[in-house]
């Protein structure tokens, strides 16, 4: 009987191999600084993906990323990764090469209930380029927000269940015991944050000591969890979202003793509730996304403040309008607003802040060529970034592209802080 079972399972293993597919991409991108022509990165990424059909109702997906950068300027040396859990850390092979298990999960259907267990990305929201609800997974700021979110989002070990509750209605429950947070760049990196909006500033006459962050590390008590209800009603795509999570950027608490300023980064929890709505009206698509965080933390310059941080609630929303009434042209505009429920003195932002984005895409020659330009502009600070790009599908498996990333505005602004990082990029991707 035992022999029979072993034999049977072996036969099944063989059939798994028969149902496996290995695909992937090899991508190389060069980035050169506009001001002095120096190379910022010369990066090659090999990203193999394995898909195995285990049974008719279950499958396995694994994605690995092997990244080499000949310049090693974006993340000099081997980062400490003290923001990541051990299970989600990358492996650094010297200063120039890192290997990361991007995703590894099993999908299983039980009737119409989908269970996805493993390392994965959970993407919420309707906004492009700006995040209100797309905060389930943390993000790498290795290249600020210039990289595709698919690449910069950090996958987490997650249990994700989705089940229908009515016709066209679905409930998603997620549990994330992975205590991994944003990859913030260390001082000296091109995209290290320097804006006083995000990091506390040094004070003349005072020495500053920055302590290691007290990162949550208990998989059970420090885990995040969330729920989403989605439905399709009278042409409207609607979701209602809830997430109880640690904010992915640490809060920089300040303590002044004598002439020494001590900064203690600490991760803090918040409740996020919100929703998304979208519908088509002729050639127009209306998209919106709204979220409210019960706890939002802001650096204050008020020297009398006991810990240098002000806490308040924060509401954010995005209104987006897409237009596709011109053949081969896609136009998209978004208005993004964040509102603090209080206006504490000395904080480095306005109580109400507005940002707009414009995207124009034009496809040519049966979508083998695409020209696009994206503008993100902060209304309050007057800074922003412009990203023009042209890409070409050279063949079924090879794409090439060239673009520029231009920052402008005050160096205290979210975008203006990278004004010296204007660059040109050229790249190609081969799929196999």
């Amino acid at each position: 009987m035992i022999c029979w079972v072993v034999s049977d399972s072996f036969a099944e293993e063989v059939s798994w191999t028969d149902n496996a597919a290995l695909t992937g991409t090899l991508e190389t991108e060069w980035a050169g600084m506009i001001d002095d022509g120096s190379t910022q990165k010369l990066e090659t990424i090999l990203q193999p993906e394995l898909n195995v059909s285990l049974t008719s109702d279950s499958s396995l997906t694994g994605i690995l990323r092997i990244r080499g950068d000949a310049e090693d300027k974006l993340e000099p040396g081997s980062p400490y990764q003290d923001n990541r859990s051990t299970a989600s850390s990358s492996l650094y092979l010297g200063d120039n090469v890192d290997v990361e298990l991007r995703e590894l999960y099993i999908d299983s259907y039980f009737d119409d209930t989908l269970l996805r267990v493993g390392k994965q990305q959970v993407v919420w929201g309707q906004a492009d380029g700006l995040k209100v609800l797309d905060v389930v997974n943390p993000q790498s700021y290795r290249e600020f927000i210039l990289d595709d979110f698919d690449n910069s989002r950090i996958p987490l070990w997650t249990i994700n269940i989705e089940f229908p509750v009515a016709d066209e209605s679905l409930v998603q429950l997620i549990w994330l015991p992975d205590t991994t947070y944003n990859d913030l760049q260390e001082p000296g990196s091109p995209y290290a944050f320097s804006s006083p909006r995000i990091v506390p500033q040094t004070v003349p006459g005072f020495s500053t000591v920055i302590l290691d962050a007290t990162k949550p590390h208990k998989p059970l008590s420090d885990s995040d969890f969330g729920a989403r209800f989605s439905t399709f009603l009278d042409g409207w795509d609607i979701t209602l979202n809830y997430l109880y999570h640690y904010k992915d950027n640490p809060v920089f608490y300040r303590q002044i003793l004598g002439t020494q300023v001590t900064i203690t980064p600490e991760y803090k929890r918040t409740h996020l509730i919100g929703g998304t709505f979208s519908n088509a009206f002729g050639d127009y698509i209306f998209r919106s996304e709204i979220g409210y965080s019960t706890n939002s933390y802001h650096v204050t310059h008020d020297a009398m403040d006991s810990d240098g941080i002000e806490e308040t609630g924060e509401a954010s929303y995005v209104l987006g309008l897409d237009y596709s009434g011109i053949t081969d042209v896609f136009l998209s505009a978004q208005f993004f607003q964040t509102v603090l429920t209080e206006d504490p003195p000395g904080i480095s932002r306005d109580q109400v802040e507005n940002t707009i984005t414009f995207l124009v895409e034009h496809n040519f020659a049966n979508e083998t060529w695409k020209a696009e330009i994206l503008l993100i502009q902060s209304i309050n600070d007057g800074d922003g970034m412009v990203l023009p790009k042209i890409s070409h599908e050279f063949s079924s498996n090879i794409s090439i592209w060239a673009g520029t990333d231009i920052f402008y505005g005050d160096s205290d602004g979210l975008y203006g802080q990278f004004e010296d990082q204007d660059r040109i990029t050229v790249g190609f991707e081969w799929g196999f």
């Binding site: 119409d112 989908l114 989002r153 127009y284 049966n366 083998t368 063949s395 794409s399 991707e429």
Partner: protein
């Protein structure tokens, strides 16, 4: 000479006035022919693979390997296409709800793996070309059938296409706005009256110039349903061609309802 011209003109007018109606009386009504095309059994559900080949005017080829599923929910039709290869388009997926009620706008979504988001797409741009092919979104959605409410039909005669007797029906888009949405003003269609399938279509743009020709071949029964296996589109304006080749067509294996959801669009097959 003037008398000769008058005789010629009179003969021509007589032909138009008397011969054509006599011929038309012997031909089936164009709208009825199209209704028969639309009524052709296409199964309650179907799964098939579609190999898409796009060829530019310099004969440079691109390929897509996809799986397409379709299912009727009452009189409404839901379709989904999953892209499997090559890697740069892998996991792209397109979902459409085609409602029987013509008053109700259809709904469409596209999943772009680079964004990992399902995007709502306007269903009013029926004449836009579908993901780099020479088929429009309308062509993809209708699968060889015709939105009868958009056209007026006239049967022009009979012709032999690749050895098959066909009726030639001229379908003219009645409303200028509909023509702009569809991207064409008129279609001449060659209908195989034996099996009620369109063998060939010639589309004309808004100015009346030839736009593209769609030819259908390798038509054979699968699970007792007449099935088109090769669709060839020649775009006369750009010189670009698209060939869809259908394989592993299966009308018998049940397709779960959950396939036609935004969840499946993201997850893939």
């Amino acid at each position: 000479m003037k008398n000769l011209t008058k005789v010629f003109v009179l003969t021509l007018v007589s032909s138009v006035l008397f011969l054509s109606p006599a011929s038309a009386n012997t031909l089936p009504d164009g709208k009825e022919l199209v209704k028969r095309v639309n009524a052709l059994d296409e199964g309650e559900f179907v799964t098939r693979k579609i190999h898409m080949k796009m060829i530019d005017r310099r004969n440079k080829e691109r390929e897509r390997f996809t799986v397409s599923l379709r299912k009727y929910f009452g009189k409404d039709k839901k379709s989904i296409i999953f892209y499997e290869k090559p890697s740069n388009v892998k996991d792209t997926a397109f979902l459409t709800f085609d409602y029987k009620d013509v008053i109700k706008d259809d709904d469409q979504w596209l999943y772009l793996p680079a964004m990992r988001k399902v995007r709502r797409i306007s269903a009013s741009d029926r004449g836009d070309y579908f993901l780099g092919t020479d088929f429009t979104y309308e062509d993809i959605k209708k699968e060889g059938k015709i939105a009868i409410e958009d056209y007026s039909f006239v049967t022009k005669g009979e012709e032999v296409v690749n050895g098959i007797n066909t009726y030639v029906v001229e379908a003219t888009v009645e409303d200028r706005e509909d023509a702009k949405d569809l991207g064409h003003s008129k279609v001449v269609i060659w209908i195989d009256g034996e099996i009620n399938l369109i063998r060939k279509s010639l589309f004309f743009d808004l100015k009346g110039n030839e736009l593209k020709t769609v030819t259908t071949s390798d038509i054979r029964k699968v699970d007792n349903i007449w099935t088109r296996h090769i669709l060839n589109v020649q775009n006369h304006k750009t010189g670009h061609k698209t060939i869809f080749t259908f394989s592993e067509v299966d009308y018998t294996s049940p397709v779960p309802d959950r396939i036609f959801t935004k969840q499946a669009l993201k997850k893939g097959l």
